[in-house]
Amino acid sequence: MNLALDCNILYVIFTKTNIILKGSVIDFFVLETVVTVIQIISFFTLGFWLVIKSKDTKNPIAVCFLAMRIMCFALGSLYYELFYLLKKAPPYVSAADVAWIGSFYFIIASCYLLGIKSHKTPFYAYFFAGAIVVVMLIISLLYGHFILNLLWAIPMAVLAKCAGEGVYISKNEEYKRLLPFFISIIMSLFYELMMFLSWGMVYVIFDALWTVGIISTVLTLYKGVGD
């Protein structure tokens, strides 16, 4: 999410939003760092907790994959923050992007392990995936590295499709307890998309909401597959 903002219109909109929210540039950086540090600590703690607790669940491998997802993401954020602090500039394309994009593959694997593949794909699953592709294409045309945006878009679209399929199978009594998990995936994807489109204080707010979304993903999965 470290995409350079070249579009003047977006810049003006979000600078004005900053003024409305009475936030300064310094506030933004401090707040962003605070949110990221909370994110890293909570994700690592939750990840280890999830691995320990996975044995008590009906699908331990799916739970472990989700733990790996959040720990992989936290590692990427750690790299990004360290780079920012040590080199005094954010990395443009780096190992942080590798970790952030790679973390999607774990949650996709987790969704498939929960049994979504055994059912048909509803039309809204394709709609979710399509919406993400369209938004990411628009973002790519406006700013940032096209290939990097494409690398983000592919797993995000696949995950959106998985979440749509998950919502569909949640109609069955067997999967009913997993409905909050799939809804929280859709919500966190929405916040992530909004983070691509936002800047300044708005970005920080969506980052915090996204963190809450991911934590709820962990808790809802644990509750969904728990005894």
Partner: protein, 199 residues
């Protein structure tokens, strides 16, 4: 010389030892190959030595280290124990050869620094290979997820390697934090594994 001695020893050992030795040699080959690929990408991208170590080296080295393990995992479908020991062998082979080269190229002028760096980098490579091995063991339970899982594992190891390289590339206390990171991770790792086994 060390490399030739291992190749000569290869036919004289059997079964498990031969497999371990084979992966040790492949770890050394991968180290040699990654030195070439790193140099190539450094020349192509025009990045400095430090920037290459932070941006390119982790990606090249971890991809190349994963390849022999992935080949063994997909073609031979080994048991978890065999896969784990093979991962250890690749990591140890890679780290040993890299440290030998580093000691030879840096000379004995600052031997204590070279030894500390060598020890920490050695542990880091072994940890990354161990993580890859553990990840592949998990994937072996769900074969249809092999490709997706391998990508995820690669992302994890690349980022850990990059964090280490980033910390070590900066002068001062950060460098020593970087040196301590692999040992601290190893201690946490073993404590965590013990905790899981107990629970």
């Amino acid at each position: 010389m060390y490399y030739y001695a291992l190749i000569v020893a290869f036919p004289s050992v059997k079964s498990e030892s031969r497999r371990f030795l084979g992966f040790l040699i492949s770890g050394i080959c991968v180290c040699l190959l990654s030195a070439y690929t790193n140099s190539f990408f450094m020349a192509v991208s025009g990045l400095s030595y430090d920037d290459t170590a932070v941006f390119i080296t982790p990606v090249c080295e971890e991809i190349l280290k994963l390849l022999p393990l992935l080949f063994y995992f997909l073609v031979f479908e080994p048991s978890p124990d065999s896969l784990f020991s093979s991962a250890v062998a690749v990591g140890v082979g890679f780290a040993t050869f890299e440290n030998c080269c580093y000691l030879l190229s840096s000379g004995a002028g600052n031997i204590s620094f070279v030894l500390i760096r060598g020890l920490s980098a050695g542990v880091m490579h072994t940890i990354c290979a161990l993580a890859a091995g553990y990840g592949l063991i998990y994937i072996s339970k769900v074969k249809q997820m092999a490709a997706i899982g391998a990508l995820g594992i690669l992302a994890l190891t690349v980022t850990y390697h990059a964090v280490f390289n980033l910390l070590v590339s900066v002068e001062g206390i950060t460098r020593y934090v970087g040196f301590a990171l692999p040992l601290a991770t190893a201690l946490c790792w073993f404590a965590f594994i013990k905790k899981i086994k107990v629970s």
